[in-house]
């Protein structure tokens, strides 16, 4: 049950011009699963490397339960890492792989055997003790890697995109397994991923990393529905931003005036966003609607995606969940922005 604090971390790689982490701070609560989400190069993996001690920060500190772990040697920190590849020791059996950490810290053979057996049951691979890694599938290997970490009851677990190389079905099963076990054992976990759905499905909170800093951190549902800024909105899949002068509940945009719900009375320039699935596409005008023409319509299985051109430069992307009638290319439509789904965001 360890509380982890990242304090003001700064790290530039030799040969790099901009810092990968730029005064980044984040607190991960004890027993929580925090997902680190961000584009490649945003420093997510670097944070994990700093915690494990493979790399050292240029500035800043990392605290476990209030004490800095930076002076502690990498092999004594208790932050176990799971990689994209399982990296099981090929010359050891499953049993010896899982028991490796215990052997290294001096536990006796009997205890190790017992714990390993319990762990194999927990990850759903009973009886696999004597098998060799080469005999296991990708998913099974990752489970063993998971067991190898968990059996040590570490202070924290760090997952560096461990599921990205697996097939979809295997990945989903493993996501559930990891989530279940993590909750049961209460190990503070940090999950690094570039997959939005994975982050939201597994984590208690999600931290969005942009430009070496935490751009937003919140529970998945909140982050998804109400991201705080324009860049973070883009990351959770929002492409529609309406800008203009705000005056007494009305936003004057170039394409028309919309009613919005907000506490602010006045602003020269305000930005409002809306999720694509909340935009309505209909034949008649309605509240907060704009006229436009269907420029593209793409069927995507769960929904239809429309690109609606409202003027020469502006085109709005809307998603209409299935089942819905297909509106043809070139048709004249009205898109509506229901005020309850419009929310204000910071420009950056």
């Amino acid at each position: 049950m360890t509380n982890i604090e990242l304090v003001n971390l700064k790290k530039t790689y030799p040969g790099g011009e901009t810092p990968v982490l730029n005064h980044l701070s984040l607190t991960i609560h004890s027993g929580e699963m925090m997902a680190l989400l961000g584009p490649s190069g945003s420093g997510k993996s670097t944070i994990l490397k700093l915690i494990t001690g493979i790399e050292t920060p240029d500035e800043g500190d990392i605290l476990f339960d209030g004490e800095s772990i930076l002076p502690i040697a990498p092999n004594k920190r208790g932050a176990i890492l799971m990689f994209q590849k399982a990296y099981l020791f090929p010359f050891l059996s499953v049993e010896d792989n899982i028991g490796f950490g215990m052997k290294v810290r001096g536990d006796n053979a009997k205890t190790i055997r017992a714990e390993v057996r319990k762990m194999l049951d927990l990850i759903g691979l009973p009886g696999f003790e004597k098998r060799k890694p080469s005999q296991l599938s990708g998913g099974e290997q990752q489970r063993v890697a998971l067991a190898r970490a968990l059996v040590l009851q570490p202070r924290s677990m760090l997952l560096d995109e461990p599921l990205s190389s697996l097939d979809t079905e295997v990945r989903v099963n493993l996501q559930e397994a990891i989530r279940r076990i993590q909750r049961e054992l209460g190990i503070t976990t940090i999950l690094v991923t570039h997959d939005l759905n994975e982050a939201m499905g597994m984590a208690d909170r999600v931290a969005l990393l942009l430009d070496g800093q935490v751009a937003a951190v919140d529970q998945p549902m909140h982050l998804y529905a109400r991201p705080p800024t324009k860049p973070t909105s883009r990351f959770v899949g929002i492409t529609t931003f309406l800008e203009g002068e705000l005056k007494q509940g009305h936003l004057a945009t170039e394409q028309g005036t919309l009613t919005v719900n907000t506490n602010r009375h006045q602003a020269d320039s305000a930005v409002f966003a809306i999720r694509p699935e909340h935009i309505r596409v209909q034949k008649e005008p309605g509240q907060n609607s704009m006229a436009g023409l269907i420029a593209e319509c793409i069927f995507r299985g769960d929904y239809i995606e429309y690109q609606v051109a409202v003027d020469k430069q502006t085109s709005i992307r809307a998603r209409v969940p299935m089942p819905a009638p297909l509106i043809e290319h070139g048709q004249q439509v009205y898109i509506c922005f229901p005020p309850e789904y419009l929310f204000e965001v910071e420009p950056n």
């Binding site: 092999n75 004594k76 590849k85 020791f89 050891l92 490796f100 950490g101 810290r105």
Partner: protein, 280 residues
């Protein structure tokens, strides 16, 4: 490309020649067409002129080969581990080691050691200059000695680069990350070495060592240059007898050569088993 058949027949031809020749040789090379085991008897029983020296040569060869292989293996292990610690480009050192190994064949390297370590050699002269010794006789006998020390030094210095390269290949291709994983799981540097690095290279090391062992046991040039009259390594003994005018001695030389060959083939088979065993 079909001409492979041509090659195989050429080679097969060479192998048959070689095999045929062996059988001829075993039949004393005279007009005698029946297989005579006299040469075998004389060698193995320790009676005849070849036989008298055979067993001491055999054990001597075994000693030299074992000692050389052992020290080469340990040396190579140490060097490979030390080199692989470095993350950056030690590629240069690798190429250098390989090139050096090839530029100085065993023949020449042995001669260099001879000139360097002999009692009137370069090192001896340096010691005299610094006043450690007065006469050549005072310099320790390092080459041309009865224990094969010179021979062992030669082989160890030549085989360490060879084995090191093999080990580095393993350490660099297979997950260097395994060390990181082990450390992350709590292993100290020493524990990493003991539980991860060494088990990883062991198959390649034993396979390579067996190759080295077989080679040393059957090689001629180095013991010919750095060895003494007694005891002699087996190949030197074999050749000496083979070149003798007396046809019986020749046959005995052939037998000794055959013994060496069989021994080496067995070692090679073991080595291949080791290598295949790693490629699961």
């Amino acid at each position: 490309m079909a001409p492979a058949i041509l090659i195989i027949s050429v080679l097969f031809g060479a192998s048959i020649l070689f095999g045929l020749a062996q059988s001829f040789g075993m039949m004393t090379g005279t007009q005698q067409e029946t297989i005579s085991l006299a040469a075998y008897q004389s060698v193995f029983s320790g009676q005849g002129p070849a036989g008298r020296e055979f067993w001491s040569s055999f054990w001597f060869s075994l000693w030299v080969a074992t000692a050389s292989t052992f020290f080469s293996a340990i040396g190579a292990l140490a060097v490979a581990i030390w080199l692989s610690d470095r993350k950056k480009k030690s590629q240069q050192i690798d190429t250098l080691a390989l090139n050096w190994n090839m530029a100085f064949p065993h023949l020449v390297w042995a001669i260099a050691l001879l000139l360097f370590f002999s009692q009137s050699g370069f090192l001896a002269r340096l010691s005299a200059t610094f006043g450690f010794i007065q006469t050549p006789a005072e310099f320790p006998v390092l080459v041309l000695d009865r224990f094969g020390i010179g021979i062992i030094i030669d082989y160890v210095t030549k085989e360490i680069p060879f084995l090191t390269l093999i080990l580095l290949a393993v350490l660099r291709s297979q997950a260097e990350n395994l060390d990181v994983v082990a450390e992350n799981l709590g292993a100290s540097r020493w524990q990493q070495l003991r539980f991860v690095t060494i088990p990883q290279v062991m198959p390649a090391l034993s396979a390579g060592s067996l190759i080295v062992f077989g080679f040393i046991f059957s090689a001629f040039e180095v013991p010919a240059i750095l060895g003494v009259r007694y005891p002699r390594m087996l190949p030197v003994l074999a050749l000496d007898f083979f070149l003798n005018q007396d046809l019986n001695r020749r046959a005995e030389g052939m037998v000794i050569s055959f013994v060496i060959t069989v021994f080496v083939i067995i070692v090679a088979i073991l080595s291949q088993k080791q290598e295949k065993g790693t490629q699961q």
